[in-house]
Structures are given as C-alpha cells and as structure tokens.
Symmetry: D3
Subunit: 180 residues, 6 copies
C-alpha cells in the first residue's frame, strides 16, 4: 500500500490544513496519509501553545467531523539537524512514498533523497496563518470562520484564549525565569 | 471518548501482543486504544532489530488481518528518566484514562499519578518471549505458531532472518566500531 | 516540614530578588525555601553571563549578609519541555508544597498539577530588571542601589564589567564562530 | 571561604556516608562541604531507586539528626563525558578547592586539573555497600544497623521495600517495555 | 610538535579566512594548524547553509589551490555550554597550545584556562562578512572577488545560489513546519 | 577525487589497524582515506580509555612513522541511532564513495544506502583485539609486538598503564559515584 506524508506543527489545526488533507485524500483515494505533528516536544510556548497530544486530539476530531478517513496521526519530536531529517522520518514512520508540502526546504531535502514531492494547495494563506490565528484566539476574537467547528469546540474546552493570552504576554519568560 | 494506553517495544509483534489487544478491544468496545511503540529511536540492534516504522507496519498489518479496529499506533522515543515518564506521555499523546500493562514499574508510576491500571493477560509467556523469538528468527526456525501470519509475511519481506543473524553475531559491535 | 520553591535565573541576583526571599521567609517562618537557579547550564552569554556556581555564590553571600536563613540553593538545568517541567522539578528537588512566582506560565503549570501558587511582590520592577542591570554593569555604571552590597563586591571580584561588556559586544558570536 | 566537594549517588545514604561527612566536617571545621547527589536524573531503577529529591531529603534528615551542619546538598545530572567532568562541576557549583573521594577515577580527573584530592575513610565497606543494602531492603530485612535512624524512618515512609522489590524483579523492564 | 587551533563556522569559507590561515602558517611555519569547523551539526539553515562535510570540502580545495599545507580539518559539533567549551575541545582534538581568534569570548575562555591567544588579522571585514556573502550568493551576484576560486567553483557545483535563495525565503520554516 | 571511509574506535590503534590502512592506501593509491575516530565523546572508561584527541595523536604519529599519507583523521561523536548513521556521516564528512569495514552491521547500513563496501583484512585478529590489548597494557606487559612503535612511545608518554589499571579496577564506578 502506498502512503503519503504531510507534516506540520498545526498550532492550531485550521481550515487550510483540513482542506489540504481533504484534497490529498480525494485525489489519492487508495493511499493512507501519515499526518506528522511536528515539534511534538514543544508546548506552552507562544509559537507552540498546544501539546502534541492536544494537537492530535483536535486533528482527529476535525477529521471525524469532516468524515475524512485513512489518516494516521503521529507525533514527531524535532531533531534539529536538517541533514538527517529524511533518514529520521524513514526510521520513525512506516514506509511512505510521496511527500505533500509547500515548504521548499522540505521539498529540497526529500527530492535529494529521491522522493516524489507534491505541492499542497494554499488555502487563504493570509487569513489562515498560524501566528495570526493564535493572536486572534488570544484576543478572544471569533475564529469560527478559520477553524473547523470541532476544533473551535475543543479549544473552548481547553480554555485556549486564556492560555494563549498568557503565553503571548510572557513570551520571553520560560518557567525557569522569575519575571518577564 | 475514553482511551486506553498499551505500550511495548514489539520486537517483534507476536501473538501474545495481538491477543492482549484483542482482549482489551473486546472488553472495552467503546474505547479507542493507543498502542505505543516504545524505544522508537532504536533499531538495528540485537534487542531492538526493527525500526519504529517497521514495527508500526507489522502491527498495523496484524490488526487489519485480525479485523481489530480502533487502535492508534504511535512511536514513542525514550526519555530514560522514569520520574518524568507519565508527564512525557501525557504531553505526547491524546488524553487517555486507563493503562494496560503487566509491567509493575509502569503500574507503579501511573498509579502514583492517579491512573487506573489494568493487568494484561500473559499469553504463553515462556513461548512468546521477545528474546526467544528473535533467536528463533535468527536461526531460521519456523515461527508461524508464534507470530500473526501478516507479521510472518512481513518479516519475510524484510529479510528478517539475515538481519537478526547479523545483529546477534555482532551484538557488541555498533557501527562506530571497526571490529567486534 | 513544608517547603516553598522559588525559581529564577538571577542574572544577576538583585535587591528585588532579595526582598522577595525576605518576604517569603518572614511570612512563612516555619518553612524552608528552595531557591532554584534556573538555566544552570548557561553562562558566558549576554542573557546569562554568570555560571550557576557564580550565581549560587552571589545569592549565598547576599542571604548571609541579610541574615536570611533557611534557604536551599539548587542549580536547575533546563529541559526545554514545558509539559514536563513540574514532573522534572518533583524528581530533582525534595518535596515542596508551595510555589512563589510572578510568572503566569509557572503559575499555570503548577496549578494544573494541584499546587498552591503565591504571587511574589514586584519590587521596583522597572529599575530592577535583569537586562537593564546587565547593561548598566557592562557600562561601568554604579549599581550599588540595585544590588545587595555582597553582590556588588562579588561582581567586582569577578571583574564583571569587563565580562559583560565583552558579551554585549559579541552577543551574536558564540565561541564556535570566528568573527561576529 | 574554602569549600570541599564530596560526590556520591547515595542509593541509599548509609552510615558510611554519614561518617565520611562527619569526619570531613570535624577535620575541616572552617569549610563548607558541597555534597553532590550524582546521577540525579535517574530513579525508579534497581541501581538508582530513589529520585534526587528523595536522596536530598534523606541526607538532609540524617545530617540534622547527627547535628552536622555546613553542608550544601546539590543534585548533579550526569553528562557521561568524563573528559568534561571537572569543567562541568566548576560551572555548576560554587568554587571548591578540595575533593573528598575514594574513587580513583575522580582522583585522576581532578588531580589532572590541579585540585587537592583527599581520601575518604572506608567505613565497613563490605557491609555498607549500596547493592547489598538495596537487596536487604528489597527483602524486608532489618537495615537499622546500616542506615542512620532518620533514613530508616524516611524509607519506611516511602514504602521503600515494595519499590525495591519491584525494581529488582523487573530490572530488565523499563516502562517502555510491555513485559520483562 | 606544537599545534595551533583556529575555529570558525566558514559559511562560506572566504578570502579573509584563507588569508588568516596563510598568515598563521607563514608566521608559525613549524606548527600544524587545526582548523575547526564549528556548528558542524547545522546545515540547510540560512545562517548555516552548508553541511560540515561541504565546508571541509571547500576549505580543503581552497588550501590545496593556495598551496597551504599543514592543516588538519575537523568538524566540531556544538555543545552550547560555554563553561565546558575549552574542556570539550581538549578532549576532542589532539594537543594544541595556541589559539588564533578575533572572538573576544573565545579569547576569554581560553585565557582563563591558561592558553596563549593570538589575534587574527581582520581582512576587509565589512566586505568579507558571512551574512553579506550569503545574501550575495542567494541573489546570484558575482562573489569571485570575495571567495577563493576553488570555493567559487565548488559552490557552483553545489548549486549554492538556489539553495541559499530558498533558505533565505524560508528562514522561519524548518522542515517540521508545513508553511512559512 | 574519490575518498574512502574507515571507522573504528582505535582504543588503542594497533598494528592490525595500521596494516588495514596501509593496504587500503596501497590498493587505492589515488584515493584519500577518511579515518573516523568513533565514540569520540568517550574517554577515561575501561572500554574507551583514550580521548578522541589522544587517539588522533596516536594514529597520526603511527601513520607518519609508517610513511602512509593521504589520510584525514576525524573525530566522530556517537548518535546512538543506527537508522540515521549513514545520513549523519554524510552530513559530517566530505563526500566519500567507498566504505572499508569488517563490521557486518556497517556493511548492511551502507549497502542499504547504495554504497560500495569493501572488506578489510583481519590481521591476527585474536592477538590484535582491543580488550586483550587494554588488559595487557593495564598489566604492564610488553605490547611492542602488537602496537606500532610510535604508539608504544606515545602510550608511555601518557602513562597509559596506570590509567588503564585504574579504569579496569573501577569499571563500575563512574566519577559521579563515591565508591566502586
């Protein structure tokens, strides 16, 4: 069975991500898609507010809601060494033969290793941009147009606006520091 | 939705593992089960011959063959610090509320954190023991009684007997050494 | 015996830190206070100029001078994974039951784990701010109003102005680089 | 002020350790002694059953009971690179000028760096040996002759025999494994 | 035999580096010079576009072309702990007794350890500055005046302008991210 | 230019290693040979007594003495993840196209990546075996038949018998432990 691989940080998982996965799954109906949740070790930071587990939860709920099947959700801890990125994923994940990405560096690294790389559609990129969405959540604004309904509900359950407001205010103060 | 967690190294995934998962899924039909593939960073060692990706592949095929659904397969990289093990899994994985294990240390660590821990059945433990199975594979013996048919076929495809024979012979010689 | 925990980087230890500890010790006279020296692995950087050992030395001298007892000074190496921060400290330190902090993220992480968290007073925050104090030291300005006398003398002994001037000038040039 | 340094794993802290510290403090009454708790990252293993925090607790109680003052207890996380061991401790700890050890490797590494190294007395070494003591605790035997009374009481409070019996039985089964 | 040590990141290796090495070798004709390639673990980043291996290759070709002998090229992986930097290099490298650097922090750390530190000449520093050179390469400009001819040819062979243009555009998007 | 790669730990560098390199260089006179010094982070352990720098020194002297040129000596820090071993070396080292090894695991990993792997001759393997040689050195026996003369002299200069005797006696006592 052929599999695709699509990696992101999904902080949070928004409609652009969902439409990307829907398009991949529609186009390649016979494939399974590995959805890699990157920077899995990071959480409770302004740029990475949600744990890998929370991100897997929100993605799973959004895919269920959208009735998109055939996805395997996997947390991926960073290694921070780009030259070993492809080999690391090859060891961590079941065999895949196609990469879906709009990140040129990812494209370069996988093409160097002989993989087929496919562009992902950019869905309303300006509006569906991670930093902008985190800011809107932190400010308590309505993001129901940008996120799948299941994610909106889950973020509400997590009390996400309070967490994000806190992390934005303290973005230079990790817990090992006394004061910002 | 409630989820269970069952962690092992699965080197290889044998009938005991399969029956454990079948029993969990039968008993708790409403739950999803996270199957954590431990020591995910290790491979090509005598005690850990298969990569995390290969182990996910063999488990997935065996579960499909046995028509067992509702399992989420996740690679788990070791942190080697037991006091942080529960917190690490809580961050890495979606929420779970029950642990299935026959490892007393796992039981202790999770009970200290307030989790419900359930024993797993020990299916023919002497026969279905990892080291014994790896030795039998390395010796080219028939292990079709011990492993699910899908795993037997997959190991054949991986040319597992040759790999295991090699790793057993060189178990003191990592690749950074010139000679055993 | 009940213990409190107060974590900071203390680069350098200033009068605000000292007054915070004095207030904690006065208020909770029966408790021991663990003073955690965070980012203990960092030194000789503009944001972290002093080693953990030097910081323990300056704190110890300032507490002696101020006749504040009952403090245990402990270096704490970063783990950079916020989801495991509480579990990490629980393993590293003797039992504590109260956290003193004005860092909202620290508050959030410890409250999630069921701890009592107490605000620390902010003593002249604008004036007693780490970056500002490091700049003043680097410029050779008088900081005797901002630091405890014992710290002033110790920084003099360390030849701190020269070190800080150097680190400020070269803040983009770690020792593995040839030139800034 | 001159300081000494004495590093051990203290799994558990026994009467030999206590008498060593008493002798150092008696002989060098003017010095402070840093007691470094080594392998601080390890716990819940047969060779390292107690967390660093638990070891600091038991040492602190034993020193209080014996009315030995002037000791600074510090957890020390391993770096596993012997060539950097001295430099690592120099950065982590306040200045020390004398090492107390009966470990010839420690002696060698510190003497190479110009430190004064002093032998520690070996108090009933055969009887007061870590592995033997852990075995006796695991077997529920009386160890009140080998451990300071405060440590005996603290281990009782920790339910140490159960933990040690468990860790001895499962010494090849870390929590990432399903079965021993 | 006495040896010198000269450490840089060499992203890329330019004429200033070459003239520095030429001057060291001319002045100290009897010495061998260790050329340490720092941040060896980094590559495919805007600030560190080339792998350690590529940097060793370009330096080796440039030295051959300039007929400069007696250099030992060594990749040096960062440890990110400045207090251990000298001890780390002492363990990793054959004995050296002189450091060549214009980095004041390197000077400070090595002088503290008793080494002789010699300034390196700054050759046209504004023009031969790493970030500026990387920008010029990314823009496809002529850099034959700034780099040794062998490096110009090697970068051409690596298709460096395309790599650098890509890394500059995506400098906030590591491969674990889906989109910049 | 084509290059070969030969990796070992060289604890110590003995006549078998020297004859292997001589044979490679004789057979492939046009190639450069990268001699990788593995487990470079380890030293002052019974299995890894010498630092990477000391091993580079002894190899360099032995090659000079034997008038074998064209070798590039490189320390290689372990990554302990076999699935990434080839990618790691590809990033760390200049391009190589042939591996010399008698380690079947190394052969397997490189062949999987498409490299040409060549067996190295086993020169008196029983006699020239690392553990045996370290034991003989620790016992003060004559090893002038087993080691190149330059290595014999260098080990004498290092006072190697005393170091090895110490490490053999204390092989279970790292410096973070108080007593063996």
């Amino acid at each position: 069975m052929a599999r695709g691989l699509y990696v992101g940080r999904f902080q949070p998982f928004h409609r652009g991500h969902l439409e990307t996965i829907r398009a991949i799954r529609a186009d390649e109906a016979r494939e399974e898609l590995i959805v890699g949740v990157g920077s899995a070790q990071d959480s409770f930071q302004w740029n990475n507010p949600f744990t890998a587990g929370e991100r897997i939860e929100m993605i799973g709920r959004a895919l269920d809601e959208a009735r998109i099947g055939g996805c395997m959700l996997v947390p991926i801890i960073d290694i921070h060494r780009h030259a070993e990125w492809v080999a690391y994923l090859e060891g961590l994940l079941p065999v895949f033969d196609r990469i879906y990405t709009n990140n040129p560096l990812t494209r370069l690294l996988f093409e160097q290793s002989g993989y087929t790389v496919t562009d992902t559609p950019l869905v309303e990129r300006d509006r569906l941009e991670g930093t902008r969405l985190r800011s809107r959540i932190a400010e308590g604004q309505d993001i129901s147009g940008e996120l799948p309904p299941a994610v909106v509900r889950y973020l509400d359950q997590l009390n996400a606006p309070a967490r994000l407001a806190l992390l934005r205010a303290e973005r230079n103060a990790p817990p090992e520091s006394d004061r910002p």
